[in-house]
Symmetry: D2
Subunit: 435 residues, 4 copies
């Protein structure tokens, strides 16, 4: 997590202040439940809430931790300083540090998920708007980077929309994966704490009780969560790469918005670099790098070891903050992307009419010419366009065999671009209707 | 995919024979639809089905491909050899190779998923059986590899059950991700083929039509699929590591079943190596290594490039075959795992009674002793056990301060193991009821 | 490892036949050393060599292993079938299976390295030849996919040469990493076998004795080896991506050689797809995926566990076979790459003269105009070219301020392409001289 | 990079202050060279050095960047504020931002390497000291977590020493990989800047000139660098796992030093958790996660794109800071590791004498008993020890067949531990002599 690629709301989720606040809430709710069970005095539970609006002194907690080398004990010690040792001694009773740490981590991940879901919604809105805008903006479809057949810019936006819609669903599932809490004590047996406490705390924190925990919440959940972030990041890369290609000097079918003050190469107007999408390509790699460590975290020893902890301290904030930033940046890029329909047409006409060769080939086959002969007929005219730069339609009309097989009108009809867009509405309906 | 770690049914899914069979089915169903639309003659569509029971000649297809360097064309040429050039010329009309290749890959992944789901079901059954069997088999719970508090072997099996149950749900979701087909032509516009063909083929092949495809089915789906396999593999590693720990010479709470003929170190009866679970640890790494390449595959150029293809030719079979083998091997290990309850008790008693120190501490706190003082009281007795090997209960009973604070009966009650198992039924109900 | 991406010589290294042959050699050399030490009878050692030219029966060994579940014992049993139980009983004395397995694996990796080094040499030769051929073939240099300043095609080949030269050095180092053998017995103490045996076997097999082994050769060596393959693969990807960009329809500065029989889109001459380099992009991902598992293999438990074994059975062959194939394919691509110098010039002139704006800017600064003013002067003329498609040189000559600052001759000189190539010889000397 | 796992000296290398200081030095040295070439006035070059001892105002630079969106221009603007616009206009002449950024990044990586090399040296010293101390401290060697044959604790330390020694060599090589600088202008052609400037700057900054750069220094160098850090991290994990195993309750052959104030489970003296080495296991994953992104960074588009930049802003500091911290922590762990030789002996005797079965087996074979019969003889006695807990030596002496074959003295000699340590000196000499 570095400031350059961070947004405050997500950063906030991972601040010490937020963390201690969640710790406090968990401990306080647990006390309420313990009091209800009669395990601890009601007054003590009530007293804990005195710290509700107190800002915890992070520096003080760090100071205590430097001695105790145990973060939860350090926090509890500080809490006792606030509410009094007398009341504080019932706090955390029957619990283990992991009860607090793991439940907190999941609360943070849930909140991060909510921000990310909102990010995706904003991106979806931008993609949909641009898809509608360019529904029939003709451009070349390309396979292998080579002109294939026409498509529309709207279809490009639409497929990114569909992909991000899937990512939204995946993230919703991933959010559910980690929306669990556990207050099950030392090795997860509830020996020292009643399951009621867990149920109460989870209900208050909007979590589901983890059906079976050890000292920790099982890490396959987190592996799935971070894997999902990795998939979303890969989709961001997918969109970014498309835009980078479109902005290439030789293609120039679109450009990232270039703000006024922005320098770089202002004396070279052709030199508007797709730096945002290049940056997104890199950010995707960063989010993705959390995936394998998260999976390596699954196999903890027996009821827990702490090897996952350092990994999560890093990838928890890093992956969510970076993804949040990347989604917002991408939304901005999509929103303001400058699209050049004229260049799309110009690119399409680079080899005069040649992109229609496939249709002519198909027409010949349908007209009863064998596949091999059809190839030959198309090929001999195509090669002239390729080598001499002449016009494909003109060549075909001048080719007696082709003319005989298809007739002029039929040949001309194969150069009609509407042919390629006739199912755009169908596809749009699939993608956007009843979404 | 290597024979040593392969099972025939899964290997079969990836054989050339199976692949060509699926190709054939897709082409034949597409012809039916095209005939229904009146695009191709009904007789031609019917004629294609003549190849229904013909075994395709893989060597012959390879031979043709060696010349054409295009696998689908090679297949179609071979098909024409079977059904006659005359009828064959309507096959594949309006389609692009990727329509066949991508839809086939997804059919294979769906079938692989079905085998894997069955594998998981078998594993779940084994885990459940062993969980029930050892529901109240007491063993030490360990955090950081260090004795913590008692738990039961049944809970260990139960948590693996819960984890694998989650994996089953994830795999079901992953299966849905890749259960789509696309017959959308060159760049996915349906310009040369009616969406009806796609709908028909998908219905016949038990797939959903891909709402919007380019020349390919979007690869975020496959990224998610392989990421899910990676998570499942990590859970296998998790279980394998637990068993490897249990089988350590110094722990010996369980052993992999050791067949009679099996050599290795038969003269060293203590030397029964957990080679199956060690192997599973390695296999988990192998499955996991498909995850990142699958994510790198998402960002194809424009409407497709073919960089994903070689990756999928490798990871498609490798990850599914390896995971299938690993799940079956793990099921076998769990099924036959030799559990040593006596050793579990013996291990627990290594430091005579010391594992109950936490309970005594808690009791002291509840009896009104300050947390600090409670620590001191417990600690001074614990240290004697630790250093001199005496018995913790006896020491506590001989400590006047402790005796004064708790009373003999109360102290003795803290050494009751039932205390730790009182919620086992609750947890089992959470895990196994209404599953 | 799949046939499609394999070459026989490398595949051979990993065949069962080769493996058993190496096993045999290690065992036989060990017997020689043991005989020399007087540990076993000389005749027995001599007798072992009777199997020197015998082809081992892989099926028979597999059959025995199916019972013993131990590959080395299966092999030794088969060896005994050949040379007689009587002589065979001294084979393998004092050794542990890993002595044979690990030393063999390293012999295979060394041989694989030698093939890969030869592959790189061939690639280097191709790159050097093409670099010399196009030393002064002018093309646009591009940053961010956007035209920057001119460079030459020769420099592009030269930088790939330099990169692959570094990879050659890295691979030489990686080869040394794994060119060790160990015959140190059970846990590496030489308790049951004299270090002389190790020294003798290693000398015969062209390996260095591992200074300190446990039951296994330490796996940090292999981690480094596979990491190096991953770097080489990434360089292949680097070159592949450059070619894919060059072959884009809109760029078309180079094309992969397109063989005569090759179909695909023969009727669309513009549709020559860079399928080889796209394939190389995918193969790079495949080689790279071995890196992390190889690193995860390092932390074996105590003196060894067998988790690394399954990983290496897969990545050993897969990564080397795939890399061998990829290097050879890339060499072929480079060798036959069709370069289009005319298109390079045409692309460069897309924005008539604008690429020289940087030089004009610099000239203005050097002529004493402030940086800000220089920008303004250049910018106002550049924008005309950009917006109206006029010629940059003409505009500058028509701009009184620019003319006043620089003079006509000076302005014209800024459009001289030789300016950009004046240090090409220097760079070539750095790269190719005394290599 | 998070404070908890950071040390100030390494953090410092990555501070904005350090970065701007290096930028300044590069620019200033470049001016010197340009002045020497007569390209810029000598006074201007001299004037730049006025900023030598000025502390750059990071906030001010950020402020400018917020407008210009270009970090190098922001810095140069700030520099101009210090030395005056008049002198400043010659700064950076002919250079491109990447000349500064890439050379700086490499200076930072070189400095980081130097710290890491010092870290490894400290670790090597600790490992050597402990190896010498425990050269003959007998402990069980274990394969598969199962007792195999005796070894010594010194050998364990020695093999970690040898492994880290290899890592030192690797890091030295990796340092050389990235110890290059480039001042080659826009696309690396030196069109706008003489190679002399690069030579001069590199000499001043202790770097080698990059033989051929584009706009950037080629990223295969950095891929190799980070891959090497990944290998080192994996070795750290290797050592950490060993210690975690040794500290297990049932094994307890060593413990991490437990400081006095440290809480956690002070009332449970058996509950000294190996939290440092568990932490190191996690940190290893974190360092390793930089490897793949660094490899993905290699394939930049044409002469550069900026996708690598965000990745390096993160992994540059993160991987080096984390590795520095981990090495220091590991050194501390090794230095203070509490070793329990008595427990090692006790563990070894768990199955009374059984670990010598291998030697007895060998003795029987050498005495002329067939391998099969030897197995049977050993096995029948071993099983008694295993099942009834009797003493292996006594059983063997009571077995007439064994006695007949070997004689009492010979049998007894097989239980001599010196047998296993007789080559310890040899191995130590290999590892430590002439190091």
């Amino acid at each position: 997590m570095i400031p350059r690629y961070s947004r405050p709301e997500m950063v906030n989720i991972w601040s010490p202040e937020t963390k201690f606040r969640i710790w406090f809430e968990i401990e306080a709710h647990a006390c309420d439940a313990q009091a209800e069970l009669g395990v601890i005095p009601t007054e003590s539970a009530a007293a804990v809430w005195k710290a509700k609006d107190v800002e915890f002194d992070v520096a003080r907690i760090d100071e205590i931790e430097a001695v105790t080398r145990h973060d939860v004990i350090a926090f509890l010690t500080h809490l006792a300083e606030i509410i009094g040792n007398d009341k504080a001694r019932f706090v955390h009773q029957g619990m283990t540090s992991s009860d607090v740490l793991d439940t907190t981590f999941n609360v943070q991940l849930v909140r991060a998920s909510d921000l990310l879901l909102a990010d995706i919604d904003a991106l979806l809105a931008a993609l949909e708007r641009r898809a509608m805008e360019h529904k029939f903006t003709i451009r070349m479809g390309r396979s292998h980077g080579i002109h294939a057949e026409p498509t529309t810019m709207g279809l490009t936006f639409a497929r990114f929309y569909a992909e991000m819609k899937r990512n939204r669903d995946r993230l919703t599932a991933a959010r559910a994966e980690i929306a669990t809490g556990a207050i099950s004590g030392a090795v997860g047996t509830f020996a020292n704490i009643d399951p009621f406490v867990e149920a109460h705390v989870c209900a208050q924190m909007d979590l589901q009780p983890e059906p079976i925990s050890t000292q920790v919440i099982p890490r396959d959940r987190h592996a799935m969560f971070f894997a999902t972030l990795g998939v979303i990041a890969s989709s961001i890369e997918n969109i970014a790469i498309e835009i980078r290609h479109m902005q290439r000097t030789e293609v120039l079918e679109a450009e990232e918005f270039f703000s006024k003050g922005q320098k770089g190469s202002s004396a070279m107007p052709h030199k508007r670099n797709p730096v945002l999408t290049e940056n997104l390509t890199g950010l995707a790699r960063l989010v993705r790098m959390a995936v394998i460590p998260a999976m390596e975290n699954v196999a903890l020893w027996h009821e827990r070891d702490i090897s996952h902890s350092s990994v999560e301290r890093m990838i928890g904030p890093d992956a969510t903050v970076t993804l949040d930033f990347a989604l917002a940046r991408l939304t901005n890029v999509i929103d303001k992307l400058v699209v050049y329909p004229d260049n799309m047409i110009a690119n399409m006409n680079k080899f005069r009419g040649l992109i229609h060769s496939q249709r002519v080939l198909l027409a010949l086959t349908q007209a009863g010419v064998s596949r091999e002969n059809s190839y030959t007929l198309v090929q001999r005219n195509a090669m002239k366009v390729w080598e001499k730069g002449c016009d494909f339609l003109e060549e075909l009309l001048a080719d007696d065999d082709v003319l005989a097989a298809l007739g002029e009108e039929n040949i001309r009809s194969k150069f009609d671009l509407d042919y390629h867009t006739k199912h755009v509405e169908t596809i749009f309906a699939r993608v956007f209707d009843g979404k």
